[in-house]
């Protein structure tokens, strides 16, 4: 007669020696592969890099005689640092000691906060970076002078605060587009890396909620 699932389990594990624990090597120094730890690690590194970058641009542009560009960029990076620290603190508060539903729900909320904060920042970050590149191009590139001279030689060139109006319009359009799509770009970028994890998490939570109702 076919054994029940329960007896298969019970009889199968009667011999304790069947459950051989794997060797545990140097657990203290072991790197965690838990997703929350990975996020924390990633954010910690990001924060260090961003602090370094904000200081670097500040000093670099100060010596280039463009302190305002340096300060603007530095502020941009500092915004990211503040947001990163906030996200890191939220992730650190997720306690594995909770029941699975609370734990996964907290984890899901943490992920959603990261996405929504990041998306908001993306609306400033991407256009900001574009303006930074353009600023670099306009103020630092020697080719800009040649191009400007050529344009200025054309008497029909309209200027806005000394800059050809077409340039201003071009930069404004691209900046607006980047600001408009900044949220989507960030979400797309995030989902590229964590999309399947998020989907799986949603499926698991839906499954659990069926058991709660």
């Amino acid at each position: 007669m076919k054994k029940s699932i329960e007896s298969t389990w019970k009889d199968g594990f009667l011999k304790e020696e069947m459950l051989v624990a794997p060797k545990v090597n140097d657990l203290y120094n072991r790197k965690s592969n838990d997703i929350i730890d990975q996020f924390q690690k990633r954010f910690r590194i990001n924060i260090i890099v961003l602090v370094g970058l904000s200081l670097f641009v500040l000093v670099f542009y100060f010596f280039k005689g463009l302190p305002f560009v340096g300060l603007s960029l530095s502020v941009l990076f500092i915004i990211l640092v503040v947001a990163g620290r906030k996200q890191l603190a939220a992730l650190k508060n997720i306690d594995k000691n909770q029941n699975s539903y609370q734990y996964l729900r907290a984890f899901d909320t943490g992920l959603k906060t990261i996405v929504s904060d990041g998306a908001r920042i993306g609306r400033v970050l991407y256009p900001g970076m574009f303006l930074f590149v353009m600023g670099n191009f306009l103020f630092l590139s020697p080719k800009t002078d040649e191009t400007l001279v050529n344009i200025m030689n054309d008497p029909d060139t309209y200027l806005y605060h000394g800059v050809p109006i077409l340039w201003v319009i071009g930069v404004a359009i691209i900046t607006s587009l980047l600001s408009y799509f900044g949220k989507r770009i960030y979400v797309w970028d995030f989902k590229l890396v964590y999309g399947r994890v998020m989907k799986k998490l949603n499926r698991t939570l839906e499954d659990m909620e069926e058991l709660i109702d």
């Binding site: 298969t8 072991r30 965690s32 594995k96 000691n97 499954d207 709660i212």
Partner: protein, 163 residues
């Protein structure tokens, strides 16, 4: 990790961790990684153990939470997923235990959703519906119905494997 803590507080409960980790992994390498991760997280979280439950119940809870959010190693996938749906035919852990019927049962369990795996593992470990609901965070009234459904599914998978 202090080896004393491992020997006194984890090793006696290694059976629980092994049984859970086996259900969420498809090969020996992943299994060992999951096992070590669970041990690491137990050690890290030990101060948060509030003695509201048995140490063993707490280990069930923590092991499940780790297994549900662990980043599975996947050389072919740069996204490092938690639990990739790997078809049973590519699972190479068919000889994890000496007892073949346990291996068959594990193969069937791995075909369930993550939560169904957790529910059936805790049920097979003879935890009460209330304890299962407490660990998972669900309503105990629905656990019985779900277990019945999972067992039907497992029996179906097992009989399909036999035939």
């Amino acid at each position: 990790m202090g080896s004393d803590f491992y020997t006194s507080s984890i090793l006696p409960f290694a059976g629980i961790i092994i049984k859970i980790c086996r259900a969420y992994t498809n090969n020996q390498e992943d299994f060992e990684d999951y096992y070590q991760e669970v041990c690491l997280q137990i050690w890290r979280s030990k101060d948060k153990f509030r003695r509201e439950s048995e140490w063993s119940t707490w280990i069930y809870r923590l092991s499940l939470n780790v297994c549900l959010t662990y980043l599975r190693k996947n050389k072919n996938n740069r996204h490092h997923l938690t639990a990739v749906d790997i078809p049973p035919e590519v699972i190479d852990e068919s000889r994890a235990f000496e007892d073949e019927s346990i291996n068959e049962l594990y193969r069937a369990i791995r075909q369930l959703s993550d939560i169904d795996r957790a529910v059936i593992l805790l049920y097979l470990e003879e935890l009460s519906y209330q304890a299962i609901a407490d660990i998972i965070g669900t309503n105990p009234n629905n656990i019985g119905v779900r277990i019945k459904r999972i067992k039907q599914r497992l029996n179906k998978i097992l009989s399909m494997e036999e035939s």
